[in-house]
Symmetry: C2
Subunit: 375 residues, 2 copies
């Protein structure tokens, strides 16, 4: 199953002509998940190679949306994106429910924006809210319940969503488990409650050792399928064959972790969830030299991101959410003081001696996430 990540916006604070506001798309065969939706995400999507032929065809495929926190540069594109997806929905496309995950308050925001703008969608949606803990931000960053608990009735296309609480043991939020993936959220510390997301693909059985099977006298057929599905079989000669005897080691599932804005992880949940990730996408708003200022604003530097990657022993750290002062490499002039490549160097320096690679995200960059080899 192919899998890739596309960055639609890699700038912090606000969208600019050279960096969109936060938005990342995780694509697998048949699924298109959006992580954060800053203002302008729908236009970035149209400009991207995700647009397949017809405008917004891929936008129409977005079936799950994850909002890390409610700051405008991660949120304000959501009502417009939903409206445009709806306008461009193919009449032959089944109107599947779009599931939206994010902090408490998201449901009210979307309801008010869609209701007051008179927006009707051709598909249903549900908002599943994560209940933050009181220590995810300074006290002034917490919303009062009177603001988040909307008294209005559901929007006509809204389906009741769940409220998801922290699980004590895992220190994580279990968002859902489906055919190929388990998705969890974990707590981050920021100016307002912020979350990271972990997408874990299930391990898959290893390949059948056909050489061995032939030696046992088995030719390709239904018995192959039974063994692959983990069933023990008995041959005509009475010999019992266990799957473990003829299967190569399992293929470990891929793991992709995407962090919202943060100056630190909170609790053990994130570290546990992200351990061994294939890709860890982490913000690096400002260079190491501005660490004090970054932390004061609830943000990270490359070295801080690298420390998380090191603790989790990830394969690749991808930096994003750069201050708009850092131009994309292609637009950078020699005379410019702020060099985004310096951010990469700082993370690489901090990860010296580890196997972790460092990449810089840019708008419209697509990173394939290859299938792993058997252990």
């Amino acid at each position: 199953m192919s899998m890739d990540l596309t960055f639609l916006g890699t700038g912090s604070a606000y969208p600019s002509p050279h960096r969109g506001a936060s938005a990342v798309v995780l694509r697998t065969e048949g699924e298109c998940w959006l992580f954060d939706c800053g203002e302008g995400t729908q236009t970035q999507l149209m400009k991207s190679q995700l647009k397949a032929g017809k405008q917004n065809k891929s936008a129409g495929k977005i079936n799950k949306i994850f909002i890390s926190h409610l700051h405008g540069d991660h949120l304000f594109g959501l009502p417009g994106l939903l409206c445009t997806v709806s306008l461009n929905y193919s009449p032959t496309q089944p109107p599947n429910c779009v599931d939206i995950y994010g902090p408490v308050g998201l449901r009210h925001f979307l309801r008010v924006a869609l209701e007051l703008s008179g927006s009707q969608l051709v598909f249903p949606y549900a908002v599943h809210e994560l209940e933050p803990t009181g220590d995810q931000c300074p006290p002034e960053g917490l919303l009062s319940p009177t603001v988040t608990q909307s008294s209005e009735s559901l929007h006509p296309q809204e389906r009741p969503g769940r409220t998801i609480c922290l699980e004590g043991e895992s220190d994580c939020y279990l968002l859902f488990e489906e055919k190929h993936f388990t998705v969890k959220a974990f707590r981050l510390f920021h100016r307002i409650p912020s979350f990271g997301f972990c997408v874990q693909e299930y391990d898959r059985p290893g390949r059948l050792n056909t050489h061995l099977l032939k030696e046992l006298g088995l030719t390709p057929g239904p018995l192959y399928g039974q063994l692959k599905n983990g069933e023990t079989i008995t041959l005509e000669n009475g010999q019992v064959v266990k799957p473990s005897e003829v299967l190569e080691p399992a293929i470990p599932g891929r793991k992709v972790c995407i962090f919202g804005d943060c100056s630190s992880l909170l609790g053990e949940g994130g570290l546990k969830a992200c351990r061994g990730a294939d890709i860890l996408v982490h913000e690096a708003t400002l260079a190491d030299g501005f660490q004090e200022r970054a932390v004061e604003h609830g943000h990270s530097t490359p070295s801080m991101a690298a420390a998380v990657a090191r603790s989790c022993e990830v394969r690749r750290l991808v930096l994003y959410h750069f201050s708009q002062r850092y131009k994309p490499v292609s637009l950078q002039k020699d005379s410019e003081e702020d060099d985004v490549l310096e951010l990469q160097r700082q993370a690489e320096d901090a990860l010296k001696g580890t196997a972790t690679e460092v990449s810089l995200a840019e708008d419209f960059l697509t990173l394939p996430i290859p299938i792993k080899r058997s252990n």
Copy 2:
């Protein structure tokens, strides 16, 4: 006083890479007024020539915002624009109140968006709401009072705004009168209540006839100013000079009218307000051939816009708010069926025999509005 209009977005329904969502800036010396604020307006502003040197410098100057109606393609850029203006506010700039005018419901939308996103602004703002009449749209387009009457308290930077009702006699809404302008709104018929705006500059006294003044023995000095200000003066020889004797005819004020989405005007207010306008900006979402569909969706065609321009005897009709099917002229291919120039031709045909000129708006087009000659 110089005066010009800049189009930041000329597309309907949603922003696309080739046409932004609705937004028009009216600039005069020292004032910068924004009409509608679709998603992406802040980025369009940064891309435009209105950005003077430093990013968003001109955005920081926007001191009045007018929202014609609450559809997302005219509204969803507003919270983000205010946040970015705030972020880029110069510390030396006095934090003047931003006055925002729009239909009932706008105050609640902005309050919820700013509150839930934890947005603090460095300047105060006030939302002045226009009370629509029940016949501005089909019944299903009216908001229920439970949706628009927010129970929350004011946002920390919010100042109490006025509720503005229709004035029976003029059939208009008087938004404000200030040093150089009177601004009114008038009613339009659309799928939801929509408004047009009329900016009327005051007439200015004509020039002094210096030839005549010299004949009377007056040399340039304070007496010139008194005459210009409309005061009658008495010369040393006892002769009385009235301003009307030495002033050329008054210079009529300029008038700019900007329509929100509509399939028609409602009542006489708009016609009266727009009479003789220098520029009338009117939507033309679809070509004449699609009139039925346009009207069904509450929109206009070029001929419909031309009919309004003809009734009002305007100098120039500017068409905008084009369906995204109409590419800008510069991007249009010969093979394309939908030709935006055809929209201009249709309006021109409908205005044959009149003195009204027709222009097509495009993103980033700036139209100067020259001072008129004396009558």
